[in-house]
């Protein structure tokens, strides 16, 4: 083609390049039959466009697949963030969201949601006795069982630890109670873990939401009901009542005050004499702690000791009592003509018995105060040692080696058999007051107590009776050959001052001729 004649293919080529530059990568030009240089350029442009189109295509596909991967990862993360890894149940975040959604629907006239909170009773024991693996498997089984009692649209969540929740959107109190009862029922059945059988009963709180209520309040109310259930006796269902909230608030206030009282020595120690029944000689005293509350007055231990246990202040409380009562004993030993065998009896909680440094603490205190170990007796409840934990056994054996006396408190109320007690480093048994209640009136009760006393002796242990309130009781026990006891008949628990006076006067307690 001559140079002065314009080749029409060039114009077509320019148009095509313009189309390509605008992003129309499908633009192609048919080369002519000449197959000359212009056709070569056309072919080259076609091939480059094809390559470019291919690259774009691959790029877009890659973006698409990466976007899909990102979306999936986001979904996975959402799922992870909203679910409990151990049980696969919804977690607290998901539950809160579920509650908010269900509560929001009440604005459009929907029924309110109900929230059921469940806390496993004694789950900590499972972990302590069988290990965390077993504990995890129990939690998984509980999750599966709870899932089996709900409808598809209900939500079962694990809030952490051994606390579970069931959210029933658009519920009535009837429906909520049905589900709660079914949950209690399925959890009542034993869980088998290979050769272990575990009970996973739960305390359950139920709250039917109010329209317009916040999710936080709904959770708090259900939680409050659950705690009420727990306190009232476990394995029961409690429906939320506003009064519970008040009780809880005042309890929480008391918890703060109790911690403060321990820290600022606002507790008071009372001492109840333990007497030799044949002679009325004072053998020692049992220490009983009281709380001198600035507003409520003297608070009895059966109110604040369970609270101390619940809020984890029992350890501090026990140490406070041990320190201050041993100081008192040291002072009495310095200033009064006490018998060498005069013993101070101090109650130790199950929690304290689990402290690895308990023995060191007691040893150091005794040394510091110059009190011989045999002048101290620790009283522990049967329940504190029934599991025979390694640390508990270590504590008991070491205390015994130190020379400290060990007494089982409230004997006859728990699980212990005499033969079981023989295997423990225990030297004394305090027989629970409940056995004396009918001693005067119930036929055969005296024989029953006599038999128990004989058993305790046969096991090589000493028996101390508590709750002796009348002369008749004291006489009968004395006749049975029982050596020591305590109770209002002899003396009620007294503050340190009057006890000092009592010990100053005589080693023998003056008792009234008649019953109190």
């Amino acid at each position: 083609m001559s140079a002065d004649k314009k080749d029409p293919r060039l114009a077509i080529l320019v148009d095509s390049i313009v189309r390509l530059s605008r992003g129309d990568l499908s633009s192609r030009i048919e080369p002519s039959c000449a197959r000359d240089e212009v056709d070569a350029v056309i072919t080259g442009v076609n091939l480059l466009a094809e390559e470019l189109e291919q690259v774009y295509d691959q790029f877009e596909k890659r973006v698409e697949s990466r976007t899909a991967m990102l979306r999936q990862a986001h979904l996975d993360m959402m799922k992870m963030a909203m679910s409990d890894a151990l049980t696969g149940l919804a977690n607290r975040v998901a539950l809160m969201e579920g509650m908010e959604t269900a509560l929001a629907r009440t604005h459009d006239g929907a029924l309110p949601p109900a929230l059921i909170l469940l806390d496993l009773d004694s789950f900590k024991n499972v972990n302590d006795r069988f290990g965390h693996d077993a504990g995890d498997r129990v939690l998984q089984e509980v999750a599966a069982r709870l899932n089996s009692v709900v409808r598809k649209r209900d939500m079962v969540a694990r809030l952490g630890g051994d606390e579970f929740a069931i959210l029933l959107p658009e519920a009535t109190m009837d429906v909520a109670m049905q589900v709660a009862r079914r949950a209690l029922q399925v959890l009542g059945k034993q869980i088998q873990l290979e050769d272990l059988y575990v009970h996973s009963r739960a305390s359950i709180g139920v709250r039917l939401g109010d329209p317009g209520q916040s999710a936080e309040d709904l959770l708090l109310d259900a939680d409050t009901a659950m705690y009420a259930a727990k306190r009232e006796g476990r394995s029961i269902i409690k429906v939320f009542e506003p009064l519970m909230l008040y009780t809880r608030q005042s309890r929480s206030q008391m918890a703060t005050e109790l911690r403060g009282a321990i820290a600022s020595d606002d507790l008071v120690l009372h001492y109840q004499p333990v007497v030799e029944l044949s002679t009325n000689r004072i053998l020692g005293v049992e220490v009983l702690v009281r709380w001198q509350h600035p507003v409520r007055g003297l608070i009895p231990p059966d109110t604040f000791i369970p609270l101390a246990e619940e809020i984890g202040a029992i350890h501090d409380l026990d140490r406070w009592v041990m320190l201050h009562s041993l100081r008192q004993l040291a002072e009495w030993r310095r200033t009064l003509p006490l018998d060498d065998d005069f013993q101070l009896r101090v109650n130790l909680s199950a929690v304290e018995l689990k402290q690895l440094d308990l023995v060191d603490h007691v040893r150091a205190l005794l040394r510091e105060l110059g009190v011989p170990a045999q002048n101290l007796v620790v009283e522990i409840t049967e329940t504190a040692i029934v599991t025979r934990g390694e640390v508990e056994m270590y504590s008991l054996l070491s205390l015994q080696q130190l020379g400290v006396g060990i007494e089982i408190d409230d004997f006859g109320t728990g699980y212990s058999s005499i033969s079981y007690l023989r295997e423990l480093p225990v030297s004394m048994v305090k027989v629970d007051r409940s056995l004396l209640v009918d001693l005067d009136t119930r036929p055969g009760q005296l024989d029953f107590v006599a038999a128990i006393l004989q058993l305790i002796r046969a096991a090589g242990l000493e028996a101390v009776f508590e709750g002796i309130e009348t002369k008749e009781q004291a006489d009968k026990l004395r006749d049975l050959g029982c050596s020591s006891g305590q109770g209002y008949y002899f003396s009620r628990p007294l503050p340190a001052g009057p006890v000092t006076e009592l010990l100053t006067g005589s080693k023998y307690l003056k008792v009234p001729a008649d019953s109190l």
Binding site: P31, R35, D36, A40, T43, G44, L47, E51, Q54
Partner: protein, 145 residues
């Protein structure tokens, strides 16, 4: 210009000894060199490329040998077809034979996608191409030259 294979101009030579038609573009052997011909005026699709590659493999057996690909006058070679021919790994060297600037452009795209696994050259003369390829023969028959 493309050198016509002997007898190609004569239509009667399309008949073999038994009087049946033979394909003038069939892959053939020339003294240990595989000659692959992509038909002029045709759009080479993936299927065509696969068939050609299969013929070349069958001819070569398990031994690598030089390959001449005649692309003279080919209308276009699809991307997928280029990928098939580019994968040919049974060659010791590849000579691309073309006659026009268009053939040259198509040739440079044919094996240009990825670094060649063997020497590749473009020729516009069949004899030069065969001579260059002869240097890459490994077969005993190369002695028959």
């Amino acid at each position: 210009m493309r050198e016509e294979p002997p007898g190609e101009a004569d239509a009667s030579s399309d008949l073999d000894a038994r009087g049946q038609h033979t394909d003038p573009d069939a892959t053939a052997d020339s003294n240990g060199i595989t000659i692959m011909t992509l038909s002029a005026g045709e759009r080479i699709t993936e299927a065509i490329a696969e068939a050609k590659a299969a013929e070349a493999r069958e001819l070569a057996g398990t031994v690598a040998r030089p390959l001449l690909i005649d692309i003279s006058g080919v209308l276009s070679i699809d991307r997928e077809a280029r990928a098939v021919l580019g994968r040919a790994s049974v060659s010791t060297a590849i000579a691309l034979l073309g006659s026009s600037p268009v053939d040259r452009v198509i040739g440079s795209f044919l094996l240009g996608g990825q670094p060649p696994s063997c020497p590749v050259e473009f020729f516009s003369s069949r004899s030069e191409a065969l001579e260059w390829l002869a240097g890459y023969r490994r077969y005993p028959e190369s002695d028959e030259r």
